[in-house]
C-alpha cells in the first residue's frame, strides 16, 4: 500500500454554509456548535419487542451523554427498529442518533422512514453502508445497496438544505432537518486514503462523523494530522470512538478478528498483566480486575484524545456494558453534560 502516491487535496470552500446549530434542531448540534467536547453513547435495541429493555439501557446513559446512537440491525442481526427504539429512548430523556444502513432499504424506504422518524421528533441521523448480511443471522437475505453511504449523506443534505427528495421533487412543507452523521475508520486500508474519504463525507453532506474504536493512539494522531492539514476538521465534527475492554481475550479478539481494528500490544499486555497475580480459577476476581483496567485505559485514552487537534468529542461504545459509561464519563471529567437552551 505504501507505493500509492496520493496527490495534495484541499477542501472546497464552504464558508457560505449555515452554522451547524442552524442547520438542524438537535441538542447534539447545539453542544457541538457551542464548542463543548461532545459525548455520545450507544444503545443496542433488543432482539425482542420489550420496550423496558430499551428504557433500562437508556436510563444508564441519561445525563452522561449528549445523545446516543441506536443501532440499525447491527452486525446484520435482526433487532427492534432503530426508529422505534429511538422514540422509546426519547421518552426517557436521552436524545437518539438513529443509525440507518443502505443494506436493508432502498431510497424510497429510507426517505419514507426518515420523514416518519423526523415526525416522531428524532433529530440526529447516522448514515451507514451496513455490515454485510453474510455476517448476521439472515445470511440468505437479499441486500439492497440501492445507494451507498456517501450518496445517502448527499440525499439527506439535499432533503434538508434544498427541500428536495432524491428524485428532485420538492418536499411539501420542507425537508427533515436532521443533524447528518457518518462513520469513519481511520485504520482501514489504504491508510493514505482515509483522510480523503473523510473529506468526501464532509463534501457529501456529513455534519459529523463517529470513528471506529480507537486504541492505537499513534496511528490515530497521524490520521488526525492529515485531516486537520486538509482542512476537513473545520468542516465536520469528528467524534472519536472509544470503548472499555472487558478482558485480555477481548482485546486480542479485536486485534486479530475484527477487520479494520488495530489494538497495540502495549494495551493487550496491560490487560493481561492486570490479572497476573490472580488465580486463573478465580474467574469473578479476574473479570473484575479486567473490567477495572479496561475502564482505566478508556479514561486515559479519552484524556489523550481530548488533546488532539480537530477532535470534537468522544463516542463511548460500551456494548452490552452500558453501566460503564457513567463511571468513564465521570472519571474523564466529562460530567456534568452541558445544558444548552434551544
Amino acid at each position: 500500500m505504501n507505493t500509492m502516491n496520493f496527490p495534495a487535496f484541499t477542501m472546497p470552500d464552504n464558508s457560505a454554509a449555515l452554522p451547524i446549530a442552524e442547520r438542524c434542531d438537535s441538542h447534539l448540534a447545539r453542544v457541538l456548535a457551542a464548542g463543548e467536547f461532545a459525548v455520545t453513547g450507544e444503545l443496542g435495541p433488543p432482539k425482542g419487542h420489550d420496550p423496558e429493555e430499551v428504557r433500562s439501557k437508556a436510563r444508564l446513559l441519561l445525563d452522561c451523554v449528549d445523545a446516543a446512537n441506536v443501532t440499525d440491525n447491527q452486525a446484520a442481526v435482526v433487532r427492534m427498529s432503530s426508529i422505534a427504539a429511538g422514540q422509546i429512548m426519547m421518552a426517557e430523556g436521552v436524545e437518539p442518533i438513529i443509525q440507518m444502513t443502505c443494506r436493508d432499504r432502498n431510497r424510497l424506504a429510507m426517505q419514507a422512514d426518515l420523514l416518519g422518524a423526523y415526525a416522531l421528533g428524532i433529530r440526529n441521523l447516522l448514515c451507514l453502508s451496513g455490515d454485510h448480511q453474510s455476517c448476521g443471522n439472515h445470511p440468505g437475505a437479499k441486500n439492497v445497496h440501492d445507494i451507498d453511504s456517501m450518496q445517502f449523506l448527499r440525499m439527506m443534505k439535499e432533503m434538508r438544505d434544498e427541500n428536495k427528495f432524491q428524485c428532485g421533487e420538492e418536499i411539501p412543507g420542507g425537508g427533515p432537518r436532521f443533524l447528518i452523521g457518518g462513520a469513519a475508520n481511520p485504520f482501514a486500508d489504504p491508510a493514505e486514503w482515509r483522510p480523503y474519504r473523510l473529506a468526501k463525507k464532509a463534501i457529501a453532506g456529513a455534519d459529523f462523523v463517529q470513528t471506529q474504536l480507537v486504541y492505537d493512539m499513534e496511528r490515530f494522531r497521524e490520521y488526525m494530522k492529515r485531516v486537520v492539514d486538509m482542512g476537513v476538521a473545520e468542516q465536520l465534527k469528528i467524534i472519536v470512538g472509544v470503548g472499555p475492554l472487558k478482558s485480555a481475550g477481548m482485546a486480542k479478539f479485536m486485534r486479530d478478528r475484527i477487520p479494520g481494528m488495530t489494538v497495540p500490544d502495549a494495551i493487550i499486555d496491560r490487560m493481561a498483566g492486570t490479572v497476573a497475580d490472580i488465580d486463573t480459577e478465580n474467574k469473578p476476581e479476574r473479570n473484575a480486575a479486567w473490567k477495572a483496567e479496561g475502564i482505566r485505559i478508556c479514561i486515559e485514552q479519552i484524556q489523550e484524545i481530548r488533546e488532539i487537534e480537530g477532535v470534537a468529542g468522544v463516542h463511548i461504545m460500551a456494548i452490552e456494558w452500558e453501566e460503564a459509561v457513567h463511571p468513564i464519563a465521570e472519571a474523564a471529567g466529562l460530567l456534568p453534560r452541558p445544558i444548552i437552551e434551544a
Binding site: 454485510h132 456517501m150 450518496q151 475508520n185 482501514a188 486500508d189 489504504p190 486514503w193 474519504r197
Partner: protein, 228 residues
Amino acid sequence: MIVAEQKPLNEIKAMLEGCNKVLAVGCGTCVAVCFAGGRQEVGLLSASLRMSTDIDGAAVDIDETIVQRQCEKEYNAPLEAELEQYDAILSLGCGVGVQSLAQQFPGKRILPALNTKFMGYPAEHGIWEDRCQGCGNCVLHLTGGVCPVSRCPKSLFNGPCGGSQGGICEVDQETECAWNVICENQLRLGLFDEMMEIHPAKDWSSARDGGHRRIVREDVRIPDEEKA
C-alpha cells in the same frame, strides 16, 4: 463469458424422478469453456446419472448430445425430430439455453442441470470471477476499469469503505477489495480526481430493477415481409 457450475448430483436426480428416458443436451459455447456443460461434462454427468439411478433401482435411460449454441433457436432446431421418445430434456446450458429450449419445445419438460452464476473472467485455470452483472449502465471509464457493481459486495460507488484491509474485502478473505484496485489504478493513471467526485446515486432502471429488459435494434431487424 457466462460462467455456470453443475448442480449437485442428488438435486439433478430428484428432478429426474418419474422420467424413464431423458436427453442430456450440452452447449458448445460459454459453459463448455468453463467446463460445466460441454461434451465431456455431458458425458460425465450422464454416466453418473445412469449409474446412480440404476443403483437406486429406477434406472433412467439417458442419451447425450450437444448443440453449438443453446441460446439460439437455429442451433437447437435439429433436436426436434428426436424429442418424442424422451420424457424430458436435461439441459447443460446456461439459464438462457434452458429457456431457449423451453420456449422452442413447449411440449417438453426442460430440466436445468447447471446453476448459472455470472458473466465472468477466468482468473486462472479452474478459477472464475464475477466481472459483470449487466446493470445496463457501464461506469468502467470512471472506475479504473474495475466494476464496483459486480466486484464490491455492497456495490459501493465511493469506496474503498472502512472494511478494506490489506487490499482484501471484509466480506470474504479470498476477495480483493475492488475499490482498493480502483484506487491503485486511478493513482497510476493520474485520475485520482475521479476518486474524489461524489458519484451520484445510480439509476438502476437500466438494470433488472427497471422491468424485463429487451433491446430493439431497428437497423438490424428483418422486415416482416422478408421474414417469410
